[in-house]
Every structure is written in C-alpha cells, then in structure tokens.
C-alpha cells in the first residue's frame, strides 16, 4: 500500500521500510540531527571553545596583562595549592554554592507547586514572584546592602522596633553573617529561575497521569513521588546544573557586598580571579584560579548530560 505524503514523494509502508529503507532513514535522521545542532555548535566553538582553550593555555604561563607570558607549566597551580587565601576560596565557594543551590531548589519546588494550583489571580502571583529575577543585579545588591546596614538599614530597624532584637545585627562585618548575607541575596534573586522553570515542567504533566495514579490508590505523597518528581526530573536536573555553574561563577553579589571579606570569609573563586587578573594584572594566575572549579563541574555536566539524554530518541 503506497500512500503519497504531502510532499508528493511516495512513502513506503512500515513493512517495506524495515526491510529496505531503514538504514537510509537512520542516516537521514543522523544527518538531520547534526544539521540541527550545527549552528549552535559552530557558534559556541568560535565564541567559547577557542577562548576556553586559549585561557587554559595561558594559565600555563606567567602572563600578565600587557605583556607576553612565558611557559611555566603547572607553576600557577602549584602556587595556588599552597596559598591560604586560595584554599579559603575553595571552601567558601563550595559553601556558598551548595547552600544557595539547595535553598533555591527547595524554594523553587515549593513555588512551582503552589503556582500550579488553581488559585485566583494566578497570573498576577506568578508575575509578582518573578520580579526579583528581573531587577538588575547591581541594584538588588545595593538595595540589600542598604537594608543590611546598621546605619539607616531597614532590616535592623524593623527588628529593633519590634523588640525581636536588642542590638543591630552586623550583617557584613561578621564572617558567618556575611556568608549568610550573600547567600540570602543570591537565593532571593535566583529562586524565581527555579520556580518558574519547574512550573513549566509541572504544567507538562497531564492531569490524566495524576488521575490514573489516584484511581490506582496512590495518596498525595505517593502521587508526588511517582508522578510529579519523574515529570520534573529532567528540567530540575538541568536547572540545578545551570544554576550551579552560574552561582559558582557569581561575582557581582559578593564583590559589591563584601569584596571577599571580612578576613576572606566570603572570598570565592570569582572574586579572587578578579583581584588577581584585573587588579594585580596577573592574568595567568587569575585563570588558574577559575580553572580550579572546572574538573568538578565537568563531572557534573557529563553526569547530567548522560542522564537527560539517556533515552533513545
């Protein structure tokens, strides 16, 4: 039975396709696949791969801004491992990123679940909860800095007035507080990213799946675990990964609030890199610092890619 497709080419029946045409279908599919990804790949090769490799090679030299560098092998890396400030940065980066991501993920899931309910004025709530993400980062950071301040700062002022505190909290001058302060800003700003993205994933789960589970006798928790979570799994993984990379490389929030202080309590890779490369003009060392986070991230990326792309197309 031959049926003509809209393009006029005769389409073979499934049976004959399997016998004769399958290979060429596969090759066609493969070529189409490559063609579809090619623009993106080319662009990224030029704009990311080349700079990445160039940066990596530079980190093996002693290059400073404005002067050529000489090859020194792993000299920068050896130096860093013995540098106390760098080791602080490693610890702080992990602490900052892990706590931020965890909080954002939890709050994001909650946000998505709540917004997926049939509440009144849903669109309005969604738009309002989206707002923190839309304010330019620099303004957000400065606003929080002011709110944290003990001089005219609204957080301390309100807490003092309602007698919840007796002395103002020194948000930025005490190491633990400073780390909390920067995490709070990052989480405030970044939760909508998780929330709205996960909402999109939730909306892709059809109601029928829930109804089917309910008729099968699943309770709320079981429906959550066996319908909701698998449905948002891929998106959640992705969003977490992307946000992890962004958070690990986050510069503005910490730089403007504390610049890595007090006493290196909030020094992370991004701030240390900036100081090295742009203030001290030591470009090679700055790159080496950033490269420190790469191996771990590559592992995460490979794991995620494999997981999301696991199914056969």
């Amino acid at each position: 039975m031959m049926r003509a497709s809209r393009a006029g080419r005769p389409l073979q029946s499934v049976f004959s396709r399997i016998l004769t045409g399958r290979l060429s279908m596969r090759r066609q599919t493969a070529m189409l696949g490559l063609a579809l990804v090619l623009p993106v790949v080319l662009y990224l090769l030029v704009t990311q791969a080349y700079p990445f490799i160039s940066a990596l090679l530079t980190s093996l030299t002693d290059k400073r801004i404005g002067a050529p560098g000489e090859f020194i092998g792993l000299g920068n890396y050896v130096d860093l491992v013995q540098d106390e400030t760098f080791l602080h940065a490693v610890r702080n980066s992990i602490l900052f990123t892990a706590s931020s991501i965890l909080l954002k993920l939890v709050f994001g899931v909650v946000m998505a679940l709540v917004l997926n309910q049939e509440l009144r004025f849903r669109s309005l709530w969604r738009a309002l909860l989206f707002l923190p993400w839309t304010i330019p980062t620099i303004v957000t950071v400065l606003t929080f800095q002011w709110m944290y301040s003990a001089t005219g700062g609204v957080i301390n002022s309100v807490l003092l007035r309602t007698d919840l505190l007796h002395r103002p909290i020194d948000w930025l001058g005490v190491p633990l507080n400073a780390m909390a302060a920067v995490v709070i800003v990052n989480v405030w700003r970044g939760t909508p990213f998780f929330g709205i993205s996960l909402l999109g994933a939730l909306q892709g789960i059809s109601r029928e799946q829930y109804e089917a589970a309910e008729t099968d006798g699943a309770n709320v928790l079981q429906r959550f675990l066996y319908v909701t979570i698998p449905g948002i799994r891929d998106v959640a993984l992705l969003v977490t990964l992307v946000s992890t990379i962004w958070t690990l490389n986050d510069f503005q929030i910490i730089w403007v609030l504390t610049r890595g202080g007090p006493a290196d309590a909030t020094q992370v890779f991004a701030t240390l890199t900036y100081t090295s490369a742009f203030l001290n003009l030591d470009l090679a060392r700055g790159i080496a610092i950033s490269m420190a986070s790469v191996p771990l991230l590559v592992l995460l990326i490979i794991g995620t890619a494999r997981s999301v792309l696991r199914q056969e197309a």
Binding site: L42, L45, V46, A49, Y50, I53, S54, L57, T58, L60, T61, K63, R64, I65, G66, A67, P68, G69, E70, F71, T85, Q145, S149, A150, T151, G152, G153, R167, P168, D170, W171, L172, G173, V174, P175, A178, V256, L257, T258, R259, G260, G261, P262, A263, D264, A265, Y274, T275, A277, F278, L279, N280, L281, L283
Partner: protein
C-alpha cells in the same frame, strides 16, 4: 572517532582564522541613538568604531612562549569617510556631577577647535579594571585614559605607557610648575609617564555642635586625641558615635586612614628601597594596637567593620558619626543640598591627626596617560594639554567643590579656597604620601593595596581574635612574599 576528527578540524580552522587577523568586513556601525538630553549624558554623538589596530601583535596569543613584545603600533589615525578623525577619551566620573559636565563641555571645545570627534567614556573607577584589561589585551586602546597613580606605576612596569616627559615640560612651561608631590608619584626612571590631573585629599570632618556639647574646644591634633575625643563624643543611647571610621574591603577610605595611623606612628609596610617588608616592628604593633582600640571601645557605629566607601558618608549625613575622614565629596553634598543646611552649619574641618612621626595624608592622585598603542598620540597630547590649561583648571576646580586640589599650587591661593574647609584642603599637599611608603610606589605596593592586606590584618585581629603580634608578623610575611614575587 569521526566526530572527534570533525571537531578538531573545526577547532583548528577557528584558531587559524582568529590568528590570521581580521578577515571579516567591518559591520556597519550602529548609529548611536541621538541623545536629546542636554546635561549629564556622557558622550556627545554617534560612536564610530575605529579600525582594529596591529592585527598580529595582540599579546593574548594562545601560544605560550614568544608572542612579539607590544611595540609602538604605527599611529595610523582612523579616518572615516568624513575626513574627520575620531579620538577616544576614557575619563573617571568624579563624585561631583557639575564637574563631569564641565569636562564634557571642555572636550566639545576641543572638538571644535581641532576638527576632531572625541568619543568620551565616563566610567566609575572600579569599572575601569575590565576596560583596561580588555583594551590592553585587544590592542583597542583609547587615546587618552584616566589613570590613578597605581595604574601609572603598574602599566609603566608592563611597558604599555608612552613617555610623556616632553608633554609635561611643555605644559609646565606654559602654565607653571605643578606641585612636586603629585609629579613625583608618576615619575619613574627620571621620566614622567602621565600628566597629573587632579589630586584629592582626605580631611577630618567634625560636628562642631557635638564638640561643644562634649566640652571639647578644638579638633583633635593627634591620633591619641582623636581616640580620646571620640570616647567623649560617643552617646550610644542617642545613636551618636565619635569615630566614623569603617573597615570593609570595599571601603577604600579604610586603606587610607589605617595607613595614616601606621605612618604617623613611625611604622611602614615597605622599606625605603621597597625591597623589604618592615611592618613587623614595635611601631607597627603600636599602630595596630591603636586601630584595635578604635574598634573595641564602642566608639564606632555598629556595622562599621563592614562599611563600604559610602558608609562613613551615610553615617555622617544621618548624624550618627561625630567625626569622619573623607574626601571633599561630603562637603559637596552638605553644601549643595538645602535640606542639609543645619548639618552644614555645624560642620568643622581640620587636617587629619598626626602622630609622633608626623602627619601623613594619602595622596589620591588622578592622572591622564597615553598608551603606546594609542591611535592618535599627537591629538591625545593636545587634548591633555588643553585640559591642563590653567584657566580651565581654575574654572573646573571651582565646579568641583573642594574635591579637587589644583595641580598648580598658585591656584590654591584663589579666593575660592577662602573658607574654613578650603583652607584645610589647600594645606594637604605638603603631607601627601603614597602607597609604597617609605619607598616609592611599586607594583608590589599596589598589590598589597588591592588585596587589602592591611585591612585584612586588623579584621583578623578583631573578628578572629588573633593576637596582634602574630597578625602583624603574618602581615609582614605576606607583604614580603608579594615583594619577592615582583623582584625575583
């Protein structure tokens, strides 16, 4: 396997293309939206992208070894079709808006007189870092660039600056000698590598009414007096604190006043030849003890340890601090805002306190420099000379509200400075010292400042309860490490 071959071929291709220089035809420049707003809008008109210069000598070549040294690119002025040259001028935003506008107007004058277009980029000091880095690495540099003296020193050492000794001579022959202390700091190897444009100085601002109330007759003259006075002035219940001194890493004021204490007590981070770290001394320990006292006597506003540059301004304007040490930006705010009149009337001015070793004021020296790779060096020199013209300097200084100390010392005698504050500001240049004291400015000194090592030390003492002599010893070790890095 085939995939990887494909990828590696692509990567090679890309690297070859990039290494071989510009192949793409220049894209039509986006006409900058014409600015209807007349005043503080930063740049005059349409930005024409100038030709990318010296394609092969870009220092950021991925090849690890050689790469040619950045020699002077032949200054081919970019000439767009209209036959008019376009120059680029990077200038820092001062804290006083009218003075920024005046510079723009002056540049417009220059454009008219020389039939050129000047593309002005006004940016905050901190934002210049990535700009300079990207500019130097890509070879796409402005013709005239603002530089603080730290950059002059650092860039000089990288060999990217043009020797401006002749220009200095020409300017000084025409307008008179500039103040010695500001010329000194940008001189290396007996040559001048930038032209001083405006120094700033910190002075002591204090509340005359609070002083009266506390029974103090005059501003403190020594640091010990400062501490004693601060104690008398502090009234925690009224949320008033005597010492409005901050310590955050973003508080560059902190780097200044801590050094003022250090140097006035006879301590110094660097030796006279700049090769040894010398802070681990009895004087150094005494200086840090003094700093610790300031922050452990409850005489500083809460949260001062985490202040940024605006922390002390805010504290003073809110009436929370009785004394602060700041540049003239506070004066400008007080004077120009009618709602601050009462505070303005109650403000007194004095030189920063001294110590047994004398009085030290950190010279904040702002200069104009020319990179070797500038495309229009001759025009650049002209522009600098035009901006350093004494008559313009007089007008500009008046528009800048005491934030600017004139580079020509006789301008300091102008009646403009005939006020309580003015008299104090004009006295400051003779006390100027710079990073690198007790030696000249070195990149090591710049790095110590960038890393906030001095600040860090007092923070560790306060926040981690580190004993002072251990902390100072550690500071010495760290500073020495940095010195050695630059001198190996």
């Amino acid at each position: 396997m085939r995939f990887f071959k494909l990828v590696s071929i692509l990567v090679l291709l890309v690297t070859l293309i990039s290494a071989c220089g510009p192949a793409a035809t220049p894209a039509a420049p986006a006409a900058a939206p014409a600015l209807a707003q007349p005043t503080t809008a930063p740049a005059p008109a349409a930005a024409k992208p100038t030709d990318a210069p010296a394609p092969t000598t870009a220092p950021a070549a991925p090849k690890p070894t050689t790469a040619p040294a950045p020699t002077t690119a032949p200054a081919a002025p970019a000439a767009p079709a209209a036959g008019q040259t376009t120059m680029t001028f990077w200038m820092v935003k001062t804290f006083v808006e009218p003075s920024n506008q005046m510079i723009l107007d002056r540049v417009k004058e220059f454009e008219k007189q020389n039939n050129v277009k000047v593309d002005v980029k006004l940016a905050a000091y901190e934002d210049f870092r990535p700009l300079w880095a990207a500019g130097i690495e890509s070879g796409n540099l402005p013709d005239v660039s603002y530089m603080a003296y730290q950059e002059v020193g650092a860039f000089y050492r990288q060999g990217v600056l043009m020797d401006l000794s002749d220009l200095m001579k020409q300017i000084q022959d025409k307008n008179g000698q500039m103040t010695e202390s500001v010329v000194r700091v940008i001189s290396f190897d007996s040559k001048q590598w930038a032209v001083p444009y405006y120094p700033s100085a910190t002075i002591l601002f204090y509340r005359k009414d609070l002083f009266k109330k506390a029974g103090i007759s005059k501003a403190p003259d020594t640091w010990q007096e400062f501490i004693d006075d601060a104690k008398k002035l502090t009234d925690a219940k009224a949320d008033v604190y005597g010492a409005g001194l901050g310590l955050g890493r973003n508080d560059s004021d902190a780097e200044w006043w801590t050094r003022q204490i250090m140097w006035s007590q006879g301590a110094a981070l660097f030796s006279k030849d700049g090769l040894k770290a010398t802070v681990d001394s009895p004087e150094g320990i005494k200086a840090y003890e003094m700093m610790k006292t300031i922050f452990t006597s409850d005489i500083t506003p809460p949260g001062a340890i985490g202040w940024d540059d605006s922390g002390n301004n805010k504290a003073y304007l809110a009436g929370q601090a009785a004394m602060i040490i700041n540049v003239g930006s506070v004066y400008y705010t007080l004077q120009s805002d009618p709602a601050q009149k009462e505070l303005f009337d109650n403000t007194g001015y004095a030189l920063v306190p001294q110590g047994p070793n004398g009085r030290f004021i950190n010279g904040i020296s702002n200069n104009l420099g020319i990179f070797k790779k500038a495309k229009n060096p001759e025009l650049a020199k002209k522009l600098i000379a035009f901006l350093l013209d004494k008559d313009f300097q007089k007008e500009w200084m008046k528009a800048s509200g005491y934030q600017v100390i004139p580079v020509y010392p006789d301008l300091a005698k102008d009646p403009f400075w005939d006020s309580e504050a003015g008299k104090v500001f004009t006295e400051t240049p003779k006390y100027f010292q710079y990073l690198g004291y007790a030696g000249p400015f070195t990149p090591a000194a710049g790095e110590v400042y960038n890393q906030r090592l001095g600040d860090d030390t007092i923070e560790k003492i306060l926040v981690q309860n580190k004993p002072i002599d251990a902390a100072v010893k550690q500071l010495n070790v760290d500073v020495q490490k940095i010195i050695d890095k630059y001198n190996k």
